[in-house]
């Protein structure tokens, strides 16, 4: 699973350009002969059919996209200006390396700034080593997207990479699918790898409209409050198990689902934590407001330094998230 996580994280997939991540996941699906389809916006759907009486339709969503940058302008000397895609933290950008879809790399430089308050995205630029505009245009164009370049690394049980938000969610769902692939399930499950979560949960809404599930579950990362002077007040820590989402700014999870998640975790002795997130959203926010309303919940993998190139998760949390998801989906809803 580690190798898969590494491949997923190092893959290229800013919101709206998830093709490479999707192909990678399709490659994994083919290993256990899962059938899939892709919708208009690019969501990848895998259905575990169940026509049995009383079977409920459950949508399990993990978003494939990551935050990124988009080129808006190329100057005479070949420097690129850009805007953010999703919640980009501008203060971590100077000095970073970036990667384009075609493999071109660049570095982020900064104009001279007199006062710290002058600092903004429009004072930064990307240098791809081009000598002039013409040469730059051979490699990139306006509208091309880039992601931060950051290698995967591991220290003990903890791994660090870019876009663990939410490739770790994708890995958890893929692993749970594998483990469930030969077991009969009481419900009909739609595993969906969604697009454009980072720009406002835009993929999850139409796909839940299409699939009309009875219940929704988003598998995503959540913030932790266990670092020095944390920015977010949350009780969630790294290494203490998957988090059962109670609330974030996009959704108040349905008590029936949070209750079920807690019950399943306790019966199976899986450690878990309760997540109340002040700021941040997940696909459950879009799913639960689709059609007449869909009771939804969230299974979250605790993650430090979200939206930086050094997001960090604990592998025990990852394994326990897989266990909880597997047991949840074996359970009746």
């Amino acid at each position: 699973m580690n190798e898969l996580i590494k491949k997923l994280c190092e893959s290229f997939g800013p919101a709206g350009r998830e093709d490479k991540v999707r192909s990678l996941i399709i490659g994994e699906l083919e290993k256990f002969n899962a059938e899939y389809s892709i919708d208009t916006l690019g969501n990848l759907i895998v259905a575990r059919r169940n026509q049995g009486e009383g079977a409920k339709k459950i949508l399990v969503a993990a978003h494939m996209d990551e935050i990124g940058l988009m080129i808006t302008f190329i100057d005479e000397r070949g420097f690129l200006r850009f805007i953010g895609i999703g919640g980009v933290l501008k203060n971590i950008l100077p000095g970073m390396k970036v990667l384009f879809e075609n493999g071109t790399t660049g570095v982020i430089g900064q104009e001279k700034i007199k006062e710290p308050k002058e600092f903004d995205l429009d004072r930064l630029f990307i240098d791809i080593g081009a000598e002039n505009r013409e040469e730059a245009l051979k490699k990139v164009n306006i509208g091309d997207t880039a992601v931060l370049l950051s290698p995967f690394s591991r220290e003990g049980n903890r791994i660090t990479a870019k876009s663990l938000d939410n490739r770790i969610g994708c890995a958890v769902v893929l692993e749970a699918m594998k483990r469930l692939s030969s077991l009969p399930l009481p419900n009909e499950i739609y595993f969906v790898f969604t697009v454009q979560e980072e720009v406002g949960l835009r993929g999850a809404r139409p796909v839940s409209y299409r699939l009309k599930p009875h219940y929704g579950l988003a598998v995503d990362v959540t913030r932790v409050g266990d670092t020095p002077e944390p920015e977010f007040k949350t009780d969630v820590s790294l290494g203490k198990g998957p988090a059962v989402k109670i609330k974030d700014s996009s959704v108040i999870c349905h008590p029936r689902i949070t209750g079920l998640m807690i019950e399943v975790a306790e019966t199976n002795n899986i450690p878990y934590q309760l997540e109340v997130l002040e700021r941040g959203g997940t696909d459950a926010g879009a799913i639960h407001l689709t059609r007449e309303g869909i009771p939804s919940g969230g299974l979250s993998i605790p993650c430090r330094y979200i939206h930086t190139p050094v997001e960090m998760v604990d592998l025990n949390d990852v394994e326990n998230s897989v266990l909880l998801l597997v047991e949840l989906l074996k359970h009746s809803w």
């Binding site: 709206g16 208009t40 916006l41 988009m70 808006t72 302008f73 306006i142 409209y209």
Partner: protein, 342 residues
């Protein structure tokens, strides 16, 4: 000329009836079937000349413009107002306006300069410090012609030279005019053209329109900001006049579907028409409501670049608008000839 005629019609968000009636008249004249929904969106059903499978194509342009609404009438007969949509306060003072269904003429006034304190003179005037003067003697007199809740639009005569068109509400009457131009032509395939309401206050009309039409592909025809002016740095231009219609890659509301964007580029190049990308990630368009509607729609945006947008004196280049029409035309034909796999 369609753009200038449309530009002069008052049609602030929620009060699009006069624009809609103008368009309906044209549609009836040209024998195009149309209907209006409960929010006021106008749907024109353009039938293709060849009997071919419905491609699920929706074209869309919003009819509404930014403006004001009367919020209170002072004892003195002066009107206070709220803003409707993204209007910049510093552009308001000393502008002629037109109020309510009867188009009462007024001007936006403020305290005379010699009465303003130093700091008042240095800062743009807030909407609260401004009022509309319709020449009424007192509240009673004013209430004979206007009431609280009346919409207020800029009053600005549209004019044109060989090169430019000037007027209010070019955002998005230029888009409406383009759609009307397209509707007069013959196409082998059928499509639905929607003139939407309430775009400027949060893309509200397009949401229900997309749900109703349930298209597979949508192309939004818009007007977008050009900031190619002396003080701006070239990287902040967003778009430039005369460089062709602008294709959106991403704004705050949508990431244009790559297949639509590719096709727009392809048809522009094959028709040898100039085009540019919109080099700015802010603001929203109807595509933001259309893309996530129903089971998802592949949506794109093409815009006429326009300077001084959301003011009574916006300008655009005729050639950009004409090139936009030709690219949209070629896009529709290409959907017929080659299909458009999403």
């Amino acid at each position: 000329m369609l753009i200038t005629a449309l530009s002069q019609i008052p049609g602030v968000s929620g009060d699009e009836a006069r624009v809609r009636n103008f368009i309906k008249e044209k549609l009836s004249l040209w024998g195009i079937k149309h209907h209006t929904d409960s929010l006021g969106n106008l749907y024109a059903l353009k039938e293709g000349s060849k009997n071919r499978e419905e491609p699920g194509l929706m074209l869309c342009a919003h009819m509404d413009e930014v403006g004001l609404m009367v919020s209170a009438i002072e004892k003195s007969g002066h009107l206070r107002f709220y803003k409707v949509g993204g209007i910049y306060e510093k552009y308001l003072v000393s502008k002629p306006v037109c109020i309510g269904a009867n188009s009462v003429l007024g001007v936006i006034g403020a305290k005379a300069v010699h009465l303003q304190k130093k700091e008042e003179r240095e800062k743009p005037l807030d909407a609260e410090k401004l009022y509309i003067d319709i020449g009424a003697k007192n509240k009673e007199d004013a209430e004979k012609v206007v009431k609280v809740g009346d919409y207020v639009s800029f009053w600005s005569e549209a004019s044109s030279s060989a090169k430019i068109i000037k007027g209010k509400a070019l955002d998005n009457r230029a888009g409406c005019a383009a759609l009307l131009e397209i509707l007069q032509r013959d196409y082998p395939i059928s499509f639905t053209a929607v003139f939407t309401v309430q775009e400027e206050i949060g893309i509200r009309g397009a949401r229900v329109a997309a749900y109703r039409v349930n298209p597979r592909i949508a192309l939004v025809i818009e007007t977008t900001s050009a900031v190619d002016i002396p003080e701006a740095r070239e990287q902040d231009y967003a778009t430039s006049l005369g460089a062709g219609p602008a294709f959106t890659i991403q704004d705050e509301s949508v990431i244009a579907h790559p297949r639509i964007l590719e096709r727009l580029i392809e048809v522009a190049e094959s028709q040898k028409k100039p085009y540019q990308f919109r080099r700015y990630g802010g603001n929203f368009t109807d595509a933001g409501a259309i893309a996530p509607a129903g089971s998802g729609v592949a949506a794109g945006v093409i815009s006429t670049p326009c300077r001084y947008i959301h003011t009574p004196v916006s300008i655009l280049f005729k050639e950009d608008w004409e090139n936009l029409v030709e690219i949209v035309d070629a896009f529709i034909r290409s959907v017929h000839e080659k299909g458009l796999e999403i």
